[in-house]
């Protein structure tokens, strides 16, 4: 894992001291709210419906047990005993008091954490594949790249006030688990024909009000040229991106309005003007960073574990858990495990302080003291010995963390929505809870298979609804909450935006509508097709028909009941 050097440490401490001063001046009245707001947002502090909200950066989603224990301590001391993991691989506290925030930031700094780059018009916390360094289909660990970008971007004077926020995601694998095509910049580590490692560079993806799939601006960028090339992109964006209209200020709009060809040409033109060697990171620095992410000291083990096989044969629940939540590891005898923060009826992404402590113990004991946060609001134990798995499962179960539904229809992403968010137009979490309860039966979930549902409580799309195989968007219509259903969205290498099935519906009708969509899938499915594969083959039409039939049946039942 990356460890702070003296410079990082000093930087973070200075930021805390600076913010402490700003809070003091706000409290004594020398800063007005309008003056203070941009300053607090720079430190991840929002004001939500009920209270302040503090967003804590988890760079590329990697944490250790000491950090999680500190988060548990903060949750108990300064919040209401829980935290919320988000689709940005961050953690949010929903109830901090303004006067306590500087102390919280100091506690975070004690464990090399902070809230920098979690808000405001800067390059945000860089996200990465949750199976970085672990996945079999990986060319190279994306985290050294993410860390390099963090160091390059967090202090870069040109990028402190961009036209709008800027999100970068990196993957090193063939299968995209970091949603790189819906970020402002997506990077994919790959090999060229000569076997050299470089990046595919994708620009201009994004969700929100105007969703777009990113465009490939460079098919292969030699690895050592990364920073200079990104600097060229940022310069084009910084000088040409729109600052007059915040809804048109993201780079996706610039790429769209300029045209893919022309944008690429401008980037290359800017790139030709830059003095690459003065910008690109020196080789020693790249190596220094990469060394932090060296694989842990794995044991030499056989691929298969008799202990695990035996335990799976005698415990069907364990067997199901491993099958659903296990992920193939590069290293023989090891496995990565997804911990779905998605117990039926729970709030997606929430974790209590007790669970944090229990999980910290498990990660420390069984996963080289390391775990990951995923953009699906789940956690990952990246390096578990198969021999240890029965013990790990027992410990997870004890902590209420052994939900065997990773990737299934009940593993739902939901933004905070109207339960917390000041921007929301409708609730989001209760919709997720209702759907999860509807499909609670494990056999039914298994029969349906992989089906990512994603829910947002307004068009900002923090819940990624555009790229949900089923997407749900909560809006307000005529003073009521109203939900639009889309299907066919995909956040992977097959990135696609969902298509609307029909008119918006009431909250109470959502689970039934999802059932209708699922029934259509089961009827249309060929062979072992997953939901998204079926939609890709059939298109949305059969699903629209199923959805319409559901709505008509509902309307008929309602008018009958009214008679």
């Amino acid at each position: 894992m990356y460890r702070y050097d003296e410079f990082d440490e000093r930087f973070v401490r200075e930021r805390v001291a600076q913010f402490r001063g700003q809070v003091e001046r706000r409290l004594e009245g020398s800063l007005t709210e309008d003056e203070f707001k941009p300053l607090r947002l720079k430190n991840g502090l929002y004001l939500q419906l009920h209270a302040y909200m503090l967003r804590i950066a988890v760079p590329y989603g990697t944490l250790n047990s000491r950090q999680l224990r500190q988060l548990a301590h903060i949750a108990e001391t300064y919040d209401k005993g829980y935290g919320h993991f988000t689709t940005r691989q961050n953690l949010q506290f929903n109830w901090p008091k303004l006067k306590d925030v500087p102390d919280i930031l100091d506690l975070l700094a004690d464990v090399e954490m902070h809230c920098i780059q979690t808000s405001g018009n800067c390059i945000r916390n860089v996200t990465a594949d949750q199976f970085a360094g672990v996945a079999k289909d990986e060319v190279e660990d994306p985290r050294p790249t993410a860390e390099l970008l963090r160091q390059w971007s967090s202090l870069h004077p040109e990028f402190v006030w961009l036209p709008r926020k800027f999100k970068i995601a990196v993957t090193g694998a063939e299968h995209d688990r970091a949603a790189i095509k819906v970020h402002d910049i997506g990077l994919k580590l790959k090999r060229n024909a000569a076997g050299e490692v470089g990046y595919e560079v994708i620009v201009g993806g994004g969700l929100g009000r105007t969703p777009m799939i990113g465009k490939v601006v460079r098919d292969f960028l030699p690895k050592e040229e990364l920073l200079a090339y990104l600097e060229a992109i940022m310069r084009v964006y910084n000088s040409e991106g729109r600052r007059d209209n915040k809804y048109k200020a993201r780079v996706k709009i610039l790429v769209h309005e300029t045209g893919e060809e022309e944008f690429r040409a401008r980037v290359e033109e800017e790139y030709a003007k830059l003095d690459g060697p003065t910008i690109n990171a020196p080789e020693e620095e790249v190596e220094r960073i990469a060394a932090y992410f060296a694989p842990p000291a794995y044991e030499d083990l056989a691929e298969d574990s008799a202990t695990l096989d035996g335990a799976r044969a005698s415990d069907p629940a364990l067997d199901r858990f491993v099958e659903q939540n296990g992920f193939a590891h590069k290293q023989p005898g090891y496995i990565a495990l997804t911990i779905a923060l998605k117990e039926i009826g729970a709030v997606p992404g929430d974790m209590s302080a007790d669970q944090m402590r229990a999980f910290a113990d498990i990660a420390e004991k069984y996963s080289f003291d390391e775990f990951r946060v995923t953009h699906s609001q789940n956690l990952v134990l990246p390096h578990v010995k198969k021999d240890d798995l029965p013990a790990v499962y027992a410990a997870l179960k004890e902590a209420g963390l052994a939900s065997a539904n990773a990737g299934l229809i009940t593993d739902i992403i939901a933004c905070p929505g109207l339960d917390y968010c000041a921007l929301a137009t409708a609730k989001s979490i209760p919709i997720a809870q209702d759907i999860a309860k509807t499909f609670a039966d494990p056999d039914r979930q298994k029969a349906i298979g992989d089906l990512p549902i994603k829910i947002s409580g307004c068009i900002n799309a923090c819940g990624h609804h555009h790229v949900g195989a089923i997407g749900i968007l909560g809006l307000e219509k005529g003073g009521r909450e109203n939900y639009q259903i889309t299907i066919g969205g995909d956040a992977t290498e097959h990135a696609a935006l969902g298509e609307r099935l029909g008119p918006g519906i009431d909250a109470g009708d959502v689970p039934g509508a999802i059932e209708a969509v699922v029934e259509t899938y089961l009827a249309e499915k060929q062979g072992s097709e997953s939901f998204i594969e079926t939609v890709r083959r059939t298109g949305a039409e059969p699903f629209k028909a199923g959805f319409t039939a559901f709505i008509e049946a509902r309307a008929a039942a309602q008018s009958e009941a009214a008679e």
Binding site: G29, H50, V347, L418, D419, G479
Partner: protein
């Protein structure tokens, strides 16, 4: 800096009766303008039945924001219960009167008597 959110009720049409709601600067908690000061208790909110009272309350809210006591004060149209307590007409404002629907153990609903 773009505004992250706009305070204000989304109720259309008739805006009375109304209460005045804001966030406490220091704590962040939702507060209601009461007779002579602010209260955390949704039942303690002062109710404006006429436009003059509403305007006076709004001015009081602005003054409190200028004095750095509260943030984002705004008038919230309400209906009255049989016992005369205010229930926000818009579901967003009602959420702020109660606390998160997914956590009945948190927020106003956990700390104060329910509005019936």
């Amino acid at each position: 800096m773009a505004k992250e959110h706009r305070a204000g009720s989304k109720v259309r049409g008739d805006k009375l009766p109304a209460i005045l709601m804001a966030n406490h600067l220091l704590e962040g908690d939702v507060v209601f303008l009461a007779d002579g000061g602010w209260t955390l208790d949704p039942s303690g909110a002062k109710i404006a039945h006429d436009a003059e009272t509403a305007a006076a309350m709004e001015a009081e809210g602005k003054a409190a924001a200028a004095a750095n006591a509260v943030v984002d004060p705004y008038l919230v149209p309400v209906d009255l219960t049989t016992t005369g307590l205010p229930v926000a007409r818009h579901f967003r404002d009602a959420m702020r009167q109660k606390g998160p629907s997914v956590h009945p153990d948190m927020g106003k609903q956990a700390e104060y008597a329910p509005i019936r």
